[in-house]
Subunit: 222 residues, 2 copies
DNA sequence: CTGCAATATTCAGCTTGAATTAAGTTTTTG
DNA sequence: CAAAAACTTAATTCAAGCTGAATATTGCAG
């Protein structure tokens, strides 16, 4: 298991690094945002522990950039105590978990292994969601109930795109552009039709429509 | 959020306009330099996207004239690929950022929101407030209690504008102009209605009424 | 090559909900 | 207190979205 630790505090950083190494992880330590982003793109880490307060580039931005490049490496963020906005922002940017500083090293261990377990499915070509999973090899969704549904090519591409961008408003134009290679289609309701079919297969609540703006996957209700 | 798009290409112009509109901006499109300059002086835009190769009057000159008249509206310039002289000249004339053509629409979005945030002095990804935060991706407000509220397009544009101008008295006319593309409202109480709806979602105290003048967001007392 | 099945796309009638207007109520202030 | 401004609620409306079915296309087996 290979971890990237991004922490600029000159005491805490190396301290965490050795603690994690003793726990059996291979740990690279990085101390600024720009370097972290490059490093994360370069090497295939199994997990990243990311401090948000970083020199050169804010941790949140680093995370967002990774996610925009479709990186799915699990990320645990370290936030200052009580800053709930940071946590919300972190989750929205695609973090998998967070820990408030200061924390017990045991808590970090616990969360790391929890996140790694949860994300174990990812490595095997599966996209996980709270209520179902998508097998990328067989292009099949498996619901909580055990029910399976095969997806057609277009259904699959659309759903995968949704799952890679949860919580974002995705306009029909954007979706068309990503589902089809090159297409500047005018008035077609293909996306509506396929959203309809996906809802029939995975349930109605998971793709929310934002009238006039697009669709949001996996966001909670209001 | 109201943008002025200056682009003479008859394909690219309208294409960008609709893309930006779908992203939630009110966009006016202008196709020549003279008209652009007048329009920019006339209306209170939040940002200008300016192509440099324009008929009637070069984009650079338009920009310089605006700046000479003390307009501080952020400007993103579109330049032909690799023409670094243009970029330098653009920055010297007072541009805030540039994009080389051809570009991905996502890059434009990214730069627009970066420039808007920079110009309003805000951090990235989310608009924060002491008592709630606004997630621009899902167009959702998250209250301190964890409660979430989806916003409609108009509610979102209005609230974002408030959040980018905290502590300022914003007249109904000004708000109408920024939330809608074409203003010139007779007497309509749209703003009152939407302020009412926002107050229901984020709480009553956050938007204060300044009778006869407008509204103030996030100010303490009066 | 032909015909069939699977998938993709278009279409049309129907439903929904955001935006707008309007009307009635409350608050402010001169 | 009266008039103006702002608030609130409710009704209307029409574009956006939904959806089942028809039609077109594609890939493949015979």
């Amino acid at each position: 298991m290979r971890l990237l630790l991004v922490e600029d505090d000159p005491t805490l950083g190396p301290q965490l690094q050795t603690a994690l190494q003793r726990a059996g992880y291979a740990v690279d330590l990085t101390t600024d945002g720009v370097e972290a982003e490059i490093q994360g793109d370069l090497e295939p880490y199994d997990l990243v522990v990311l401090d948000l307060g970083l020199p050169k580039r804010p941790g949140l931005e680093v995370l967002q950039n990774w996610r925009n490049r479709d990186s799915r490496t699990p990320v645990i963020i370290l936030t200052a105590r009580g800053s709930w906005q940071e946590k919300v922002a972190g989750f929205n940017a695609g973090a998998d978990d967070y820990i408030s500083k200061p924390f017990q090293i045991e808590e970090l261990f616990a969360r790391i292994s929890a996140v790694l377990k949860r994300s174990a499915g990812f490595a095997s070509g599966e996209l996980q969601h709270e209520h179902f999973s998508l097998d990328e090899h067989s292009q099949t969704v498996i619901l909580e109930s055990g029910e399976r549904h095969d997806l057609t090519g277009t259904e699959f591409r659309l759903l995968r795109y949704f799952m890679l961008h949860p919580g974002h408003v995705l306009s029909k134009t954007a979706l068309t552009a990503h589902v089809y290679e090159y297409d500047e289609d005018k008035d077609s309701n293909v996306i509506e039709v396929y959203v309809n079919r996906l809802r029939q297969k995975i349930g109605n609540d998971l793709i929310q429509t934002k009238r006039g703006q697009g669709y949001v996957f996996g966001a909670r209700q209001s």
